[in-house]
Symmetry: C2
C-alpha cells in the first residue's frame, strides 16, 4: 500500500485538466465537462478558496485527486475547519496507496492553513481506509437532493 515513490502530490494546474484529471475524477462520479469547461469551474473554485490536489505519475498524467475546503468559523475563536471532498483515484492506479497519500497531503495542508479539525464523509465500507490515516467516526451525514 506504499505510494510509488515517483508519484508526486501537488496543487491542480490548468494543464492537468487535459492530462487525466477528469478521467481520475470520473472514477468517483460522472464529470461530463470538457477541459475548457473544467477550467471555468477551476477558476470559480479558486475564487472561493477551494484547494484541489492531484497525484501525478512520472509522465505527468493525473493518477488521483482530493479537494480541501477551508471554512473560517465564528466558533472556536474564529477557528477554521477543513472539509475533504471528492477523493478519487483512476482505476489504473488503484491499490498503490495514492488515495492515502492524497488524504494525508490534504490533511497536512489543512493544518498548515490553520484548521483545528478536518471533516469528511464516506460510506461505511470506506471508513477503515480513512481510519488508517487518522480519521475517526464522528457523526451522521444527511443529504437533501434538490
Amino acid at each position: 500500500m506504499d505510494v510509488s515513490p515517483e508519484v508526486r502530490v501537488g496543487e491542480l494546474t490548468e494543464a492537468d485538466l487535459a492530462n487525466g484529471f477528469l478521467e481520475a475524477l470520473g472514477s468517483l462520479s460522472d464529470v461530463g465537462l470538457s477541459a475548457a469547461e473544467a477550467a471555468d469551474v477551476f477558476r470559480e473554485r479558486r475564487k472561493a478558496g477551494i484547494h484541489t490536489f492531484v497525484a501525478r505519475a512520472p509522465d505527468g498524467r493525473v493518477a488521483g485527486t482530493a479537494t480541501l475546503l477551508v471554512e473560517p468559523k465564528f466558533i472556536h475563536r474564529g477557528g477554521r475547519a477543513g472539509h475533504i471532498e471528492d477523493v478519487a483515484v483512476h482505476q489504473d492506479f488503484q491499490k498503490k496507496g495514492i488515495g492515502a497519500a492524497l488524504v494525508r497531503h490534504a490533511t497536512e495542508e489543512a493544518r498548515r492553513l490553520g484548521c483545528y479539525k478536518v471533516l469528511l464523509n464516506c460510506f461505511d465500507r470506506f471508513a477503515p481506509f480513512y481510519e488508517r490515516v487518522g480519521y475517526r467516526r464522528h457523526d451522521l451525514g444527511l443529504r437533501h437532493d434538490l
Copy 2:
C-alpha cells in the same frame, strides 16, 4: 413547533454581531470573539462566498443562525453542492421552530444558487429533526483533530 410569525430569517449583517448573534451561536459551541473580531471573520467568510443566515426577533435580536457553504464541483457537470453548518438557536428561543425555519431557508437559498444537493452532518439524536425538513441519512461523518 410553528415559527412565531414575527421571527424573520435573512442574511447576517455586521449590526447583528453585537445584537445576539454571538450569544445564539454560543448555544452550539464556545465562540470567544468580540463583535469587532467577529467582523473580521465575517469579512473572511464573505470573501469565500459563505452565507450566514440569522433569524431575528421583532426587537431585532438574533434568535438563531445557520451557515451555507456553496461548493462548485467538477463532478455532475460542474454542479454545486451546498453544505449546511453551525445551526444554532439561542436558549431563550428554542422549541419554537426557529431551527427548522433556518434550515429550510438555507436549503431554499442553496436551490436558488444552483445546488443539486445539500449536505449536513449531525449527531444521531438530531437526525429526526433534519428528517422532518427533508433530509435523509446518507453516510458517515469522520473527523480528524489537528
